[in-house]
Symmetry: D2
Subunit: 341 residues, 4 copies
């Protein structure tokens, strides 16, 4: 971290500041310029709060040189992290397809869709039992019953499960769910992240609607610093002024995160666009840019789905998409991050 | 709700759709235009999911005529809601000052600040015990001990307390806290909102960084539909491309929300701007535009605060601000919402 | 257009409104619902100003059913527009590579780069002579001399030219430039658009940093309604809260625009990301999602470029990218827009 | 400017870099830290392009310590700039009211409104002759005839005129217009700014929809560096995800700009909100936060205005607003920028 002192700083204040830094195990290298004194802070500066430093009386400005995340940082872990979910490997150079309905609606529905997406190349099943809905008057998901239905679909097809958790108190219900999803609205639900960090179940962490990539990595850091390093990151669109699509899919986040972090990165084109027709091109774009997996909503009868039918693919459309992805895959962007930058 | 049918719609599909609506206690008025058929949906359309309607095969587009919130809607509750917090009334035409440090740091600190802000005109004390921090390596607050210290400050000064909750599991610790704050990052933590809706403690609900006013009112609706109508809304800045201030304070949200809803609206200029110097002008702007209260960070020693020192006022600056607010207050905008629009 | 009347509307006001619409050659179909009267407006509603309608005393709300653009609308021109630029066809199912430096710096520089990108598969040369710079103290481009150098590079290589215009008064200097680029900052410089609409030179119209897709198409409409239908649209990233990349590249805009409009769509990953390393993956994503061409900054010596060196590819990197694009191209998304939706 | 070198930098590259800087009249102070070498750049760094520096091979990162604007910077011009427009002084501690219709529609209309707003306290008249409209099919303004009508209203009332210019070629028509307005969409029309910088007529420069405060000040710098220091800045809302109001009015921009710059700052609540009812509270908020003037749309018959009727105040509403502003004015925020920070 580089700290620029105010021209009017007082020596005794500087001494106090340097002592405080040393208490935090940070060494200080002072360099005196023509009209500015600049401090170089050396040590584990990720534990320093940038705003706290800037609030100090004697400080004019400060800037990080290293990223504030450590465990998620590729600099300290150059090789890609591969997460094994009952034999399905994410991050190992493949494009893992995770498909299923927005909401579990019945045992028949989820089993039918599971069979279908498996045939089309999906290697994991997604389905919502607890649903975050803007309105209290909208369908809120089937809850624990939905989880049970997912488990039946898993038994029938062998597909590992991904489902979203909405509160710590539901965590026991997820013991047979293979990957716990933290939705965009909970990306900074820090108590939930800490709890998941204490476990060892893989976590699919979605980027929040208004969160930067750095904040996403800091949320991953919450889980990882607790001891659980199995974090899968997910780009699912951010909120911008554009209303043509539900959100704006930030495709450059995929190669950018993969450059900065060793964690696997997947994409959710269904929630990003909110329009079924836009899902295939955005999915294909994600693959080309180097994504490790895709989360795709598939419903056997989108126009009667209990939620998010607008953005669900039919089984046929998913099957077509899966085939074209196989063709693009060999030529996708591979992040050659070793060495430079 | 107005529903526009596709030109190619089939009569039997329309019959099914109308039946489904009737099952949802919605009447349908059909009007046949030159090249479009338009349905007018009559009944409690707040229970209808707009995206669900749009996903129907026969539907080209749909538009709400009424807002999707009911209990928070001024149309159904024209007079202002006044919330009484141990004798402090919010929403009754006053500007309630709620002040205190970002974090509780020690008993002495919180009691000193409480005494000071009380003298300067604050009628409630704020202080964070649980702190949502972007980094797991930053100070996370004093937790339950912090709550105890707040309670001591309350005993000493008589000021009612506002403090932020971060997880349902902490709810028992808040029994002597007078107003439970739901932070911006938890505005759509729906399980938490439902839980608070089952209680009867006043809730201070902050607008999320990327949430619209309508979504804020829908989150209030979660609490109110559970039975707890004591909701105070808080504008605290939204995330935009501008980085000069930490967030962009949406001052027009104050009169806009007050027009649409009967709930009290307060403003948090400290988090909105992130810069102590910008707090007074933004606070004054909020008062002029008709706000019911202000949430202001005050710290006796901002440059040594454990968090958010950059945006904290000194007790002296808060005292100056309080005085000028008293002068502007009589001339502030009063929403004359009855009658028109 | 659907117009919802206020419940309190007066019959004589409605009669006046209907007459005013008839004067504008719009027919009105009135349908009386249970508590709302809805008007269906039939005719060329693109000439109606939605806000003007909403401002009428008797109108509660109004909503377009048809898009406000006509000449750019695929509904009225289902087949793709192909633009022929000295034999280079954009929009005909190929991916046209347009490459070159941000700024023309010398005759030698531009000719060297032109030769190089031609060899790597570029079929057009880009180069800035007039440069829009945030600071008046930054290099402003070589102006007319830069245009002359571009023309020499064109003579030497045969590559048609694309260069940005910044003011109507420069238009004569562009007579040997094959495609006139309107930059993001000028997307709503309506006088310039009108002037270009009076000519017949192809226009490359970039999306503004804060402009919606609909606004981009309305700006195309300015040019087309003047008589010039040779418009190429360009997605180049929008401004959001994310600062990791210079802008946020809206990849879904590519298939979305191609669904709504028959005009060719190209992408500019260099300006979208601002980081050379991010250019290849975003370029590849664009191709996968169905783009008609790419605008790529290439500089023989990026670290000594006079502008935008950070985002320029070396000739070698461009050559590598060109090769991988050739491989992805056959599998890219093709908008099958005929028939449905 | 602080420049952090890559750890792998080569000495000969550094020597070349330092020489290049010296050619630009920048001195370099080198300080060697434990693992990073930091350069302090001393001199007129506003002429350096930050991205250019960052693009250099040996540079890891760079950060400005001083703002990139000079002539607009309060640091080099501590006292407020006061602009005298035919006796009306902006920036001298008053709140100047500039009112009038969005578009000039007829001589009678503009003269009637001019008389009315003058009576209510306006000291300048605004009116659009050239109108930037999203659609080519919308009313484009009366052009030169509109200017003539404005001049008649000026003769009749004595009110100085503000009107928007859309292209350099119209500049002669503005010789009797007292203040030339540059609209939000033209804030970075640099050729226009340069042309206005060569003149000496006061310029009202509106912030662009997606432009930062720093960019606004850089656009002012374009005008000022050309020799014309009479620039009035205008906050008029920025584009965000919120659609309740047309734009999001950034009230904190007012005190922030006044802290950073000596130029007068006015606000345009009409365009910021797009809703007549929201104009008074946002105007009042602007006054409380220290604005130097207000630009308000007033129309004698808003529901029949040819543009922007939705946001226009009636003469009566403007009169009421003017009165309440008089009351708030004495207590508004005054930027005490001398000395600290």
């Amino acid at each position: 971290m580089i700290v620029i002192l105010k021209e009017s700083y007082k020596e005794e204040e500087l001494i106090k500041f340097v002592e405080w830094l040393k208490d935090n195990e940070i060494d200080v290298h002072k360099s005196i310029g023509q009209n500015k004194v600049v401090l170089g802070l050396v040590g584990d500066t990720s534990s320093l709060d940038l705003d706290l430093i800037k609030a100090k009386e004697i400080v004019e400005d400060a800037k990080r040189v290293l990223e504030p995340y450590k465990k998620a940082n590729r600099k300290f872990h150059p090789e890609d992290t591969v997460i094994d979910i009952n034999g399905v490997k994410i991050g190992a150079g493949n494009v893992t397809l995770i498909a299923g309905p927005c909401s579990v609606e019945s045992e028949e529905q989820i089993c039918t869709i599971a069979e279908s997406v498996k045939k089309s190349g999906a290697s994991m099943l997604r389905g919502g039992a607890y649903k975050p809905r803007t309105s209290p008057y909208s369908f809120q998901g089937m809850g624990a019953d939905g989880i049970d239905m997912l488990i039946k679909a898993k038994k029938q097809t062998g597909l590992p499960l991904v489902s979203e958790i909405m509160d710590i108190s539901h965590i026991d219900e997820f013991k047979d769910v293979d990957v716990i999803q933290v939705g965009a609205r909970n990306m900074q639900n820090f108590e939930l992240l800490k709890e998941l960090g204490r476990g060892n179940k893989p976590v699919l962490l979605k980027r929040g609607l208004a969160n930067t990539i750095e904040e996403l990595l800091m949320s991953a850091e919450y889980i990882m610093s607790g001891g659980n390093s199995k974090v899968i990151l997910c780009e699912r669109g951010i909120r911008t002024f554009e209303t043509a699509t539900r959100n704006t899919f930030d495709v450059s986040a995929i190669p950018y995160i993969k450059e900065k972090s060793h964690l696997p990165v997947i994409a959710d084109p269904s929630h990003a666009t909110g329009i079924a027709k836009m899902v295939p091109p955005v999915a294909m774009a994600s693959v080309a840019s180097g994504v490790d997996g895709l989360l795709i909503e598939v419903h056997n009868d989108p126009s009667h789905a209990l939620c998010d039918g607008l953005q669900s693919l039919t089984p046929k459309a998913f099957d077509d998409l899966s085939k074209v992805i196989d063709k693009i895959k060999p030529y996708r962007y591979i992040n050659a991050s070793e060495g430079d930058n």
